[in-house]
Point group: C2
């Protein structure tokens, strides 16, 4: 099998990401249609927060696999974006504000007590995928980010329209992430396309990306399947 | 066995670090006495550089073990200190300048070609120690940093006195590290003393620190034992 050209490979990665991207999950579709109850929205926020807490951990693992200081200098911004700095609150902090707005006190969110076991398993599996993957595969798994900007924009619009009981400023995370996800997705795509120059490496990258989309999907399966008293 | 008090434990950590700290290694003693040949100094710079390249990798592993964003916000500075940022060159860049000054072109240093196998093994073993350790033990292993400021200061003085063929500005790494090592060592010591509250945890921390000093020692064994044509 011969390798795909850079353009063909970039297209395949995109198709692969789209294929099972979690925007098509029935729970996510219902969210954007305005059909979720307050309790369901809260369950999503609580469980997705656990995913958010795994992002800096998997990004630190990616840093630990990188031999090139220039790569690390770029990738490290992702940790700062989520953890925050003396200059700006990070994504985790913004997510706490979202939690407060849907009725979950920050201490409760941080304690991760209400995270569903199946959601935890799905998110932990992403960290393990990254831990055991090569640097290239781990970066490929992050390429769902290329689809995030559009999804975040439509999510903000949907929440403003359908869940107007959530104050607009509580949606800061969704808005702040748009340019960051754009930058991160673009950088990661360039990296993967430039480095995966054999058919085998390309297949491995496509497989890692598929695995990642499956894990995001499983997270929503967990949320959708939550017992009624939690949802 | 009951746990040591915080003060006793801090003293034990210090004694443990001092016990086999690499400043007592015969090769290091000869360096500070001005007895190394240019070739020996070059061999040290080349092999110690490999250790320097492992630092951001082990610090990224430490980040990946930390669940607390506040801990990560502090620890991430270590990566920036070594990798550099748009504002300042990092320690690795400063080490390349040291290499140039002792006659090793940057490309050659970065290629890691002249790193001795035994030096590589010792440095890789440190990364593996951190990878397999708990967060607490990994931080404890970093406590050699508490001894670094004094060593760096005496190293600068020794080089200026005995190896005056090395221009002073090439010693920037040694100088720049003094306040950073002070800050890092202090922070790490506070963390370890606060968290290791049982005799068992304290013993594990002391063991991790001893392992670390042994690895630094082995690095110098490798350098001291280099074949004549490399030294």
């Amino acid at each position: 099998v011969s390798a795909l050209s850079p353009d063909e490979f970039a297209r395949s990665l995109r198709e692969r990401a789209v294929e099972r991207y979690h925007d098509r999950h029935p729970f996510h579709v219902r969210m954007h249609q305005g059909l979720l109850s307050r309790a369901e929205l809260r369950t999503w926020v609580v469980n997705r927060f656990y995913y958010q807490t795994r992002i800096p951990i998997k990004d630190a693992l990616i840093l630990s696999k990188a031999e090139d200081p220039a790569f690390r200098r770029r990738w490290i911004r992702r940790l700062v974006d989520h953890d925050g700095s003396s200059e700006a609150p990070g994504g985790l902090e913004l997510w706490l504000r979202l939690g407060e707005a849907v009725g979950v006190p920050a201490e409760e969110l941080v304690a991760l007590e209400h995270v569903l076991p199946a959601a935890r398993t799905a998110c932990d599996a992403y960290v393990e995928l990254v831990r055991s993957a090569s640097l290239l595969e781990a970066v490929a798994a992050s390429l769902t980010e290329t689809l995030a900007p559009r999804l975040l924009e439509s999510r903000t619009a949907a929440w403003l329209e359908h869940y107007s009981w959530v104050p607009e400023e509580a949606l800061a995370y969704f808005r702040v992430r748009v340019p960051l996800a754009e930058r991160d997705g673009k950088e990661a795509l360039e990296y993967v396309v430039a480095r995966a120059r054999t058919a085998e490496l390309q297949q491995r990258c496509l497989a890692a990306l598929l695995d990642k989309t499956r894990l995001l999907w499983r997270l929503l399966d967990a949320v959708a399947g939550a017992p009624a008293e939690l949802a």
